[in-house]
Every structure is written in C-alpha cells, then in structure tokens.
Amino acid sequence: MQQRSTIAPNSFDALIPETARVTSVRKETVDTFTMDLDRGFRFEPGQFNMLYAFGAGEVPISISGDPADSSRLVHTIRSVGAVTKRLEALRPGDMLGVRGPYGEGWPMAKARGHDIVIVAGGIGLAPLRPVIYHALRHRDDYGNVVLLYGARSPEDMIFESELHRWRGRFDMGVKVIVDRAPSSWRTHVGVVTTLIPKVYFDPIDTIAMVCGPEVMMRFVVREFQNRGLTEDKIYVSMERNMKCAVGLCGHCQFGPEFICADGPVFRYDRVRDIIGIREI
C-alpha cells in the first residue's frame, strides 16, 4: 500500500488524482454512506480530499477516518447530486480518483490543555470525527471533551454505534438532540443550541469546534458567546463550491479567503464579518 505525505498545495502534483480502490461501503442513513479506500496518507483532522468519480466529476469530501490509521482513507458522503450519486453506486473493488489532503484543519495543537466542545449538525459530524479520534487517543492532552450532536431525526444520525460507544465512556460527554422524534425517543428534541447551556466547560480554557449548516453555526456561536466564550476560541468549518482545492481557481472565494486553501476550518473572528453577507 502506498504511503505519502501531504502534497505541497502549489505543486502541479496537487491537481493530479491517484487511483484508489473501494474496500467497503457502509450505509449511515437513507442518503449518507461511509466509504473506505485502500489508499492511506497522513492528514490532519478537518482536512478534505477531492474524490473523482470517473466520467462524472470531482467533489470535495472531508476525511472522516482516524488520523492515526494510515492504512486506509475513510470518507462519509451525502448523496445529493450527480457525482455523489455515482460515488454511492461504487462497490468494493471499484476504483475512483483521489487527491489530497487539502486545507487547514481543526486546531488540535492549540486546543492542547483546553476543554474541547464539539458541536456538530447532521453530516457535519463527519469532519469532526477525526477530532474525536485524536482527542481520545491523546486523552491526557485535553481537558473535558464534549460532543453535542444535532440531527433531523433519529434515523438521520450518522455514526450511531460510535455515538453510543462514546457516550458510554467516562472521559467524554455526549449529548444528542433531534428536530423530530417519535414519542418512543428518550432524549432531547429541539435545536442543538439548546444543549450548550446544559454542559459544563470553562469559557477561559475552552476551544469550540463547530460544523454543520451555516445558519446553525451562526446560532451556535451566539450561544457560545452567551456562555462567555470569545470568538478567538471558536472554530467553524465553512463550505463553498470548491473545485481546484489549492486556491487557484477562485470558485470557493469567501471574501478575502479561499475556503479550500485558507480553510475549510476558520477561527470565527476571521469570518465573522462576511459570514452573514448574502452575496458571498
């Protein structure tokens, strides 16, 4: 199995996909699946790859696997358009193109010595799963680790078995909330922001990592601010139409930033003034 380090983003090689073989596909929800590839390389939590479905096109997909496992690449994908539907149709043994990893990931080094509060909405848990793997693997490096996860319904939750496993640990807090639930549901119903006042963290020594729909992230940031967390302690993962993934084509330009090269993870104060501008 080929191993490689991160490609320099400005090199020509950064635009050339390599082939990889699908080793397994797991259904997460009705429209979301997790795919393992036989190619592995080092990546930082929060980075993404460009996956190329031959004949259909390329899409940016966050890496959702364990950063310490360099034997395979794991991506969790929501099937919403032509390319992702083609990816969904792939089966073990099929080939696809992959290039990456790209982008700035979550601030794991800066978070050392701090509490970590992770807020994920829907498929936003996928780019945050590597954070959880990393934090649990280096548990002594961090204070409280808390995951707050919101989904549309119990059937729309991804990584459900892992959520149960994490919730069963003594060294991690997990709270789950759904928008809609049957009356047999036994935990929270409502929006994910309502979970923030229910968990303990020290605002002076906490790093918050947030990924989900942009509107959700805005409300989550407000709730964190109500709890005394300053903007320089809050990180969000942004999403735009990424094409080249190396900051050349400009498709994902976000004010003065390129999501693909300067992000996708940003400290909130860097994007605060542009996140609400409709034209951007």
């Binding site: 429209d31 096109g57 899409v59 929501r78 919403v80 358009g81 032509a82 390319v83 992702t84 909405g121 829907g122 919101g150 989904a151 549309r152 729309d156 909330i177 928008d179 809609r180 639930a181 049957p182 009356s183 549901w185 036994r186 935990t187 929270h188 119903v189 409502g190 929006v191 922001t193 309502t194 006042p197 229910k198 989900g212 729909p213 509107v215 959700m216 409300f219 139409n241």
Partner: protein, 164 residues
Amino acid sequence: MNPEESNPEALLIAITQHKFCTGLSDAHLKTLASMAEAVSIEPGRFLIREGGKADRFYLIRTGKLFIEMYAPGRGAVPITTIGTGDVLGWSWSLPPYRWHFDAKALTLTRVVSLDANKLKDRCDEDHDFGYEIIKRLLLVAQNRLQQTRMHMLDLYKPPQVEQL
C-alpha cells in the same frame, strides 16, 4: 403528580438556586416561596394537559419532560425537551389561561410548583416584583421563539445541489 414533603427552608433554597430566579431580591424569593410547593412526576405521567386550566407555574429542579402535542393519525408528537433549570408554562399569565400543549415526564422529574393565581395577584400588587417576573418570562419566551424559528428552518434538510 406527587406532592413532596419539603420544609419552607428547603423550598426557599430550591427557588433561590433555580436559574429563573437568579438576581431576585431576598424579599421576592420569599414571596415566591410563600406560594410554592415541591412536586415530583413519575416517568410517563403528564404534568400539564392541552386545554387544561393554567393555574400553576413550574420551575424544573431535576429531570426531563417532553413538550408535546397530540395529532390525529400521528399520535403524540414531541416538540421539544425541557429539563433541569428550565421553567414550564407561561399560559397562566395571559388569557384564556389554558395550556396549549401537553408536558410529559421522560424521567423522574422534580419541580417547584407555584400557585399562578397568587403569583398573578402579587404581580398586580407589587409592580417591582411583577416586572422582575415578566422580564424573566420574556427571556424564556424569546429563547423558545428563537428555537422555534430555527426548528422551522429545517436546518439539516439535504441541500439541492445537482452538481455534487
């Protein structure tokens, strides 16, 4: 719903420690304690029922409840969950003084139950006290309204992106 034995001192402490009462003066806290009783609700039991007379105001001490509505053909639909530190019900403060939803305990829930008629009367008599109560109720209403708006956005709905 089971009334719990509690001495007035313990009740006053429970009220003082509740988030809703943060910042109230000692006199106002004592006023609340004078119209309060401690109550517990077993899992699966209703604390309030839609259409019922809204004559209590609840400070939730511990536990978890579903706010739910019954929809024909769908059964009980949970709208939101409330729990420790939250309050339940402001229908007592506005006509027609009827509950607009059901509240069912998910876990053993302990509340401070306030006599809403006495509370209303006291708010009318002592405007300083009334202002403090209404200010807090408005904050609760604002938070719930904000949550409802977010709920309506259907945040996690799949995007309509043909290209991806």
